[in-house]
Amino acid sequence: MSDDLILQGHDAPVISRRVQPMLRDSRIFAVIVLIVVIIVLWEGAKLLFHLPDRKLPHIGSILGEFASRTQGGSGPFWGVLMLNNAAATLGEALTGFILGGILGCLLAVVFTASPLLERGLLPYVVGSQLVPILAVAPMVVIGMGHLGAPDWLSKAIIAAYLTFFPVTIGMSRGLRAVPRDALPLMRSYAASGLQIFWKLRLPASLPYLFTALKISATASIIGSIIGELPVGAARGIGVVVVNAAQYYNSRPQNLWAAVLVASLLGLCFYGAVVLAERLIVGPQAQA
Amino acid sequence: MQRQPPVIAIDNLTKTYDGRAGQVVALSNVSLEISPGEFISLIGPSGCGKSTLMRLIGDLTQPSTGSITIKGKTPTRARQDRDYGIVFQAPVLYDWRTVQRNVELPLEIMGQGRSERGRRSAEMLKLVGLSEFDQAYPRQLSGGMQQRVAIARALVFAPSILLMDEPFGALDELTRERMQGELLDIWARTNATVIFVTHSIPEAVFLSDRVVVMSPRPGRIEAIIPIDLPRPRDTLTREDPHFFALATEVRERLRHS
């Protein structure tokens, strides 16, 4: 299973090459059109099928929810509360993302340096993915809770687990993706192993690393949210979503707003990785 | 030596396209007449428009001004009449079809029955010497064998014109020379007119009745050199002093272009 996930990731630059030229010219225009179309369809469907607010609230009331106060009008704004919780989720995801990313990169470097270690360890790395961690998430959270670990740690562990595998595979592939005959060329300059790593392997691996990081970014947010579901979690956008679902009948727009925040959180994290990719790898990686 | 009505008549052809730095003239005022059954090579440096000229003849792109007449028809009409067999530098075989079914592809599209397709493809595979590989998949074959399948596929519906765009460009020198010999044998058994695009001077001289030397910026015909080496040609032809003289002549014209 995991190998195909990576295959998809590996091919991802091809998507952007095929899709982007088509999108780029009209991208801003298309986004505006899309937003207008969504609003028209949404409100149109509501009007046409007489959908009650319980099924489909007005877009305005969903956005208005951010500006209304909690605790029946005396607490802080919902927008602030949701952002705080989203920040907590982002913190958990980011911690795991960084830990998993570092672990993945280290493993990949070790694998590239020592094919023997790779042959010994890679089956375990691949085998680790047989455990569907998202399904195990409740146990991780409850187990860590029993140990008295801080609340965020279990979510970060889930996020790290989801991150390290794509990064290990992507980075190993990237470190080997040096141009043909580039290694003999470096050896002909009597370059040291370290020089080969810094001047050849690392730059060659960056596009692959970022392809993996993009997969991991979304996965780590999902991992954190799922980690927030078991009873007892105190903070996080997952908690807000579950609570909002419980009070749905009295405040339907609240759940819609919470889900919107969760989606935007995923998009922002992913967008940040894309931005970092543009800055570090530059546009040639997409070409 | 040939004065039959031309099978391909190209008259004052110009092709321009919009590049990044304004208009690019790919071909300028090209005129050429090609007789039935003739073997013509187009040779020249990159950017001289030799591939563009081939693609214009094959109706893969449209001229800006000027005209091309194929057997008295427009190229589009000729294409619809299935007058063209095309071989590219890459074999472009379909991975999911066996060798036999790759060769049968054009016949399938033209609506021929199964038994007729089988008969024709077997005949073609015999012609290119791949009879025992009919059930293999393309990726199981070497580059030279794949290109032979591509030639068989191009000839299977007996097109009157064979367009070849550097078909042996990706092969090693020895395979390439063997394939050139085989191509001449195959051509001798068909009545096809061949337009052969190449970078290689010995290849052009060895194969052709006439070598069309082209030059770039803008793409145009620099010279047309008749190759009066006797046929059938073989390995000895390549060692003939006259072969070297002709190759030198082509080289000179290319250098001054």
Partner: protein, 271 residues
């Protein structure tokens, strides 16, 4: 692996058995070793059961409650399977339409790309409100959404994958656009489609279980895992996860076998 397979036909039964053992032996030995180390480690270090129950205990629960676990596993698998069928079929059909009519691609592909970044699972409560949070339908819808986008993107890419020369060849035969589509684009897209199906198979099982975390009847795998973990029955929860793994691997392998059958040329050349 491919070499071993290609040669299998020409082997005696004994040699075939040896090749099989050579291929799968190390993996099985590793699995056994891991189980033994796990069991020994848990016992030796007195690891609390809430962190990791010993495999013997999980196996005991699996045997005790095997029929029940398989039953709830199949209940969840139903959701995954129907969601998979709906999502992948729609994805492939929309990909075909979007190659035929470019404006569909323009409108939908940005969403498909964005869907990579959105935690779709967070939509589960909303889908539950529309389709009933305890019904199978709401889970099927979530799985369908999760599998729709990868299938759309991959199939679309596959349909656009033929080289320009391959299309020009079709043009030179004066092929109709239907002929080019059926004889060139569709077969060229098959490897991409199967890649998407393999991703979606795994995704659909996980998606069904995780969407059950948001609510569902007790006879669902996801609900069972959370409820058992919540009341301290960790070995029961782990046994349910073993069932989930088994279902996921089985579903994936079915797709792999289908891929081999549908695309014999993919493996033929590796011999």
């Amino acid at each position: 692996m491919a070499i071993a397979q290609a040669n299998l036909k020409h082997m005696s039964p004994a040699a075939r058995g040896r090749a099989f053992a050579w291929r799968w032996g190390p993996a099985l030995a590793t699995l056994l070793l891991v189980l033994v180390l796990w069991e020994a480690g848990v016992r030796f270090f007195h690891i609390a059961i809430y962190l990791l129950p010993p495999p013997s205990l999980i196996a005991a629960r699996l045997l005790e409650r095997g029929t029940f676990l398989l039953g709830i596993g199949l209940y969840t698998f139903e959701e995954a399977l129907f969601g998979f069928i709906i999502g992948c079929t729609l994805g492939a059909v929309v990909a075909v339409l979007s190659v035929r009519w470019r404006w569909i691609a323009h409108g939908l592909l940005p969403f498909a790309v964005a869907s990579n970044a959105v935690p779709i699972i967070a939509l589960a409560p909303l889908v539950g409100i529309w389709f009933g949070s305890t019904t199978q339908v709401s889970k099927i819808v979530i799985v369908a959404i999760m599998t729709f986008f990868p299938t759309l993107l991959n199939t679309h890419r596959g349909l656009l994958s033929p080289a320009p020369e391959a299309l020009e060849l079709m043009h030179s035969y004066a092929a109709t656009s239907t002929q080019s589509f059926l004889k060139l684009r569709v077969p060229a897209a098959l490897p991409f489609l199967f890649n998407a199906l393999k991703i979606s198979a795994t995704l659909s099982i996980i998606g069904a279980i995780v969407s059950e975390f948001f609510g569902g009847p007790l006879k669902a795998l996801g609900v069972y895992i959370t409820s058992q973990a919540g009341i301290g029955h960790y070995a029961e929860a782990w046994a349910a996860i073993v069932v989930a793994c088994g279902l996921g691997i089985a579903f994936y392998l079915v797709i792999v076998v289908a891929e081999r059958l549908v695309m014999p040329w993919q493996t033929a050349h590796e011999g």
